[in-house]
């Protein structure tokens, strides 16, 4: 039943499109304005990462349900160079990191779930989720 929105990432207009679509989906899921901004920012970071290091890739947006919680799922896939040392990449702060994986630590901070699968020479898949707090 999960409908998925597939967004190609090949140019920087695509980064803008991805985060706007992400915001729209978050709104549909009932996230607050502040949370929508957070999700859009995380998508922006991940999308830019694809562009900078893999040159092109895809972002999939979908809604999910976990028990009585509703949320947004973002999957970013590319066939780029891959991330050699994921752990180290995740540790770096913004001031130091301009290399591959620069956007990852920030995006992880913003989202509730964050998973990186990467093989050097083959590509990277990032799955991140944010769940809505049921008031």
């Amino acid at each position: 039943m999960a409908e998925e929105l597939r967004l190609p990432i090949a140019a920087d207009v695509d980064v803008v499109e991805a985060r706007q679509q992400g915001r729209a989906l978050a709104a549909v899921a009932g996230f607050s304005s502040g949370e929508q901004t957070v999700i859009a920012a995380a998508i922006s970071e991940i999308a830019r990462n694809i562009l900078m290091y893999a040159k092109k890739g895809e972002i999939f947006l979908s809604l999910a349900t976990n028990g009585d919680r509703h949320g947004v799922v973002v999957v970013a896939k590319d066939q780029g160079p891959g991330i050699p040392d994921i752990e180290r990449a995740m540790q770096y702060g913004y001031s130091t990191s301009h290399g591959v994986g620069a956007g990852l630590p920030g995006a992880k901070r913003l989202m509730d779930e964050f998973n990186v699968d990467s093989v050097v020479g083959q590509g990277t898949t990032i799955t991140m989720k944010k769940w809505r707090r049921m008031v």
Partner: protein
Amino acid sequence: MEVPILRQGQYLIASIQSALTDADLSHLREALIAQVGRSRCRGVIVDVTALDVMDSFAVRTLRDIAHMARLRGAETVIVGIQPDVAFAMVQLGLTLKGVATVLDLEEGLAFLNRRGEERLLETKPKRRDDRG
């Protein structure tokens, strides 16, 4: 999409109208640097009221603009960061440290005017009884 840059006295005001691509931001940076270099510009205001997301690239670009402007004798102030955007920024770990940020255009102009006065006082010749 090009960002309009207005001139108001000795200040430049760039109003970002909508979501910009990274390329647009880079162009804005180049355009502002060029104009600051060309004219006797004392201050730059970048109005980001319409920006719905401020990510690492945007922050880097704004910092670059402020740095370049300062090298050319102009002060930069960012105005209009939205509450949601500010909150997302700090969660991302982006703080825009070292760049002046105020609430809106009115505050931005007041800030630049004050800075202008301060710099004037700094350059005034000191009276003999003030300093040693």
